[in-house]
């Protein structure tokens, strides 16, 4: 297209060859979310009450702590990809877009890390019951 400089000819024409992978991982993590969130809802509904002591006992079981950590990874990975698309669609300015994607990475990795650490802390130190 066009008869400009070489950079001018390619700028703005899209594919950086990452799209298919992004699309696929969005779906892989969507399936992860589906299974793990369904597990969480069912597991929570089966609890008799939601007192702190009881939740500590529940969360310190490996069969709860491990899926909970996996769910955090799946959710935060999925939302990291999803919000990236949102940012790319609505923020045209390259500099601002770059900055916000950095913030998004901090949010996604930080959020997952905090959640996983909280679960690990309960799992390793918690047993009240």
């Amino acid at each position: 297209m066009g008869s400009g400089t070489n950079i001018g000819k390619v700028r703005g024409h899209g594919s950086a060859q990452h799209g298919a992978h992004h699309w696929m991982v969005q779906r892989v993590t969507a399936v992860g979310n589906l299974a793990l969130i369904a597990w969480l809802i069912i597991s929570l509904l089966r609890l008799p009450t939601y007192e702190h002591e009881l939740l500590i006992g529940w969360l310190s079981s490996p069969l709860v702590a491990v899926p909970m950590m996996l769910m955090l990874v799946s959710i935060f990975w999925h939302l990291r990809l999803g919000l990236q698309v949102l940012i790319e669609d609505y923020i045209p300015d390259h500099g601002l877009k770059f900055g916000i994607i950095i913030l998004l990475n901090f949010f996604a990795i930080g959020g997952a890390a905090l959640g996983i650490f909280a679960v690990a802390k309960v799992a390793f130190t918690g047993v009240v019951a």
Binding site: L34, F117, A118
Partner: protein
């Protein structure tokens, strides 16, 4: 115009015609180079005509269930990401930080605004999940027939509302009963 060409043109109408043609073409090119929607992006130099097609804006589309579900998929995904996921982490954090911290969390989440947020997040989750399942079907290349597409698009928010109501009915009957 170059004097020589002008001179020749006076003698030869064909050359005059050719010159006019070239100028007209150049003028059109120049007009295309005027800044338009795509060229206003800061930090990008305009180096080529930006008369590539733009998609029409929202206003011209006729509303239908498929459009609603598509918009809701994005809106609910973003709401879950920006509000739901932080609340999930706060919940886990508050459990790990001890009984007072957990009570602070449940205290806030059981106020009226807290319930509105929790019920809203429940609806967002069901809406996004069912609409995500619809994505999988469409990804597989199925469900594009107009009537089928309309049916499942309309079914998604209805099922989501129904699921939200059913879940909260279950929770309230459990907490009260």
């Amino acid at each position: 115009m170059h004097p020589e060409i002008g001179h020749a043109a006076q003698k030869n109408p064909a050359i005059l015609f050719a010159c006019r043609y070239v100028f007209a073409k150049a003028l059109v090119r120049l007009q295309r180079l005027q800044p338009c929607a795509g060229s206003l992006i800061r930090g990008q130099k305009l180096v080529k005509p930006t008369n590539r097609p733009l998609s029409p804006h929202l206003g011209i589309y006729k509303w239908g269930p498929a459009m609603l579900v598509s918009i809701l998929h994005r809106a609910t995904g973003d709401a879950l990401a920006l509000l739901g996921a932080p609340i999930l982490v706060w919940w886990l954090y508050s459990i790990s930080a001890g009984p007072e911290s957990y009570e602070f969390f449940t205290g806030i989440m059981t106020t009226i605004p807290g319930f509105i947020v929790m019920i809203g997040m429940t609806f967002a989750l069901f809406e996004h999940t069912y609409s995500g399942l619809r994505h999988f079907v469409l990804d597989a290349g199925a469900g594009y027939e107009l009537q089928t597409n309309k049916l499942w698009s309309a079914a998604v928010p209805v099922l989501a509302l129904f699921s939200t109501a059913a879940l909260w009915f279950f929770i309230s009957s459990k907490l009260i009963g």
